[in-house]
Symmetry: C2
Amino acid sequence: MYGIFSYDIASPRVGLKQDDYILDLEVVALLGYFNDLKIDPTVFAQPVLNDFIALGKPAHRAIRQRLNELVSSGTPAFSDVHDQVFIHESRVQMYLPVHIGDYTDFYAGIHHAENVGRMFRPTSDPLLPNYKQLPVAYHGRASSIVVSGTPIRRPKGQFLHEGKPVFGPSEALDFELELGLIIGKNNPLGESISVEEAEDYIFGVTLFNDWSARDIQRWEYQPLGPFLGKNFASSLSAWVMPFDELESFRVAGPPQDPIPLPYLQTTGEKHFSFELEVCLQPAEGEKICICRSNARYLYWNFAQMIAHHTVGGCNLNIGDVLATGTISGSTPGSYGSLLELSWNGERPLHLSETTTRTFLADGDTITLHGWGFLNGVRVDLGDVTGTIYS
Amino acid sequence: MYGIFSYDIASPRVGLKQDDYILDLEVVALLGYFNDLKIDPTVFAQPVLNDFIALGKPAHRAIRQRLNELVSSGTPAFSDVHDQVFIHESRVQMYLPVHIGDYTDFYAGIHHAENVGRMFRPTSDPLLPNYKQLPVAYHGRASSIVVSGTPIRRPKGQFLHEGKPVFGPSEALDFELELGLIIGKNNPLGESISVEEAEDYIFGVTLFNDWSARDIQRWEYQPLGPFLGKNFASSLSAWVMPFDELESFRVAGPPQDPIPLPYLQTTGEKHFSFELEVCLQPAEGEKICICRSNARYLYWNFAQMIAHHTVGGCNLNIGDVLATGTISGSTPGSYGSLLELSWNGERPLHLSETTTRTFLADGDTITLHGWGFLNGVRVDLGDVTGTIYS
């Protein structure tokens, strides 16, 4: 996984995570290990991954192959310079890995959409008629996306109390378990990306927590969608898993019925099996994992999201984030938000004998974990964590 | 008004519009006219206004005062260098004036909101219960905002035909008459901006056309708001009117009943009287002005928009665009979109004896004009124009 890190007096730079160490790619480049690859070493000396991403997938593969050769056992290449190129993670500070021009949030978790529909429109079909025809999405706020670990301030805002609008700190602060795609290639304004080409536009995948203030959101969102209920913060993992390294996690998605229009039709395994987990650590007391889900529960796949996003000519740029929406499973223990886990506050979650939660309390830390299995060995996506304060 | 322009072999730079000429502020700075103001001349040699905006209002006022002295009659300062500093507008190319980190679109035109409500929810109150309690808004797409004059490609997308989803070129392409605020100062994430401070965060005002595909929008927008119906393009004027120069256009806004919550309460004249006009030039035939409106018809004022946007801690950045939403008046000739002017296509607009429009045809050029009066003299906001093609 790639990220941006600094240590000691070294300025932010591109790193590759290797277990508990981070390989300093600027130093590797300056030591000459990439010389024959014709890669400009300054792309590694940047505070965001965007220039590195812009090198393109052939360059990324060449770099990755070179690094694999260098770190593979039996190759002495890095042995003389081990302490120069491998920095222990305890010494580093991490940064938001990309400059994000635009952020889009999909609604591709069908169990989440059904649960929300059941709660808020109990007398009608939980899914609206468009849900299975197109990947519903909205534009979110890019400026307030922060790197994992950044404390999250409880937003104040306007919401209803006994039917009257009041102003105050949100009383229904929530997390959302999502994946974020990091866009790896630009398309020109006016040109669309087909489902066949779409995966080539993904640089990598991260964990993403789209913090939500449900009381603010519920009062404001008609008719134009979420605004202040979402835009106070979203948390992105410091680590981006390159899309190339996800091949062995591919699985088939759920059957799509009705069959979508041709521009959204995909073949083959376009979903990915990542185990996902959400854990809550209260200010006092034990950390409890409150949700276990899987990325394969998404209704729409990544290729469909990208093809739909661009079908009208909208231009994506390197570093843009496309988040999936909340990934819930079909059973209560797999719900990816407190809104669902506490069923809109009706069923408090018991963290211990004395501690319950409907929504988040100040001091609560939420951590999302994600992992897959490669030949039986667990491969971690980077965690994303944040602690609530007022 | 400030903008970014180039000419001959000169790279994009900051200009000040003076009637039919553009004052080249990089050249003015290099000639030493700002030396005693301690302004770094490189802020004028940029392809966007962001660095210039970041100088702050005291610097902008000092620059403006110096320029006023230099160009006022009787001062010979520029007479020797007239052709170096004044570039005729026929010679220049204009650019998007700012790098836009995030774009927000409000819904502050109450007559537009009422018209849309009457069309789409004919049996209930045209305004939803939140409309007069808070300035409804949504996040839009920043990457697809283009400078005035850029051709606009008709988007393809998914919409309903006789109740079934189909894919094709939008059959309900529309414009929206809006103003755009350009943000002039950053607020830190987690900190709000009060209504009293809010106007100090506005660098300037522009005309803004939020192109909309009504058929796509109508099918996709529940429950999370507009997405592909809007994100294929928006057009921003090349010229930004500094907020400081709007003082004489201040007027009182409409009475707000109910009185909003304290964080949204403003006093004094916080609305602005700009005459607004929309003209349609078909590929063949005469240009017809189809709408005449005024910015004073907005329900919510700029200070309320900014205070609301940030009340939960959302951070605004220099160059962000906050658009007002469609500014319609209360009478049919003042409606700021074809959706309203043709009443959802039911009442075609007669452009000539043989030409009608419900929505836009390929080859149509839409131009928004705006102006105010200062001591009886018309002061123009920059136009914004775009031609539809497929």
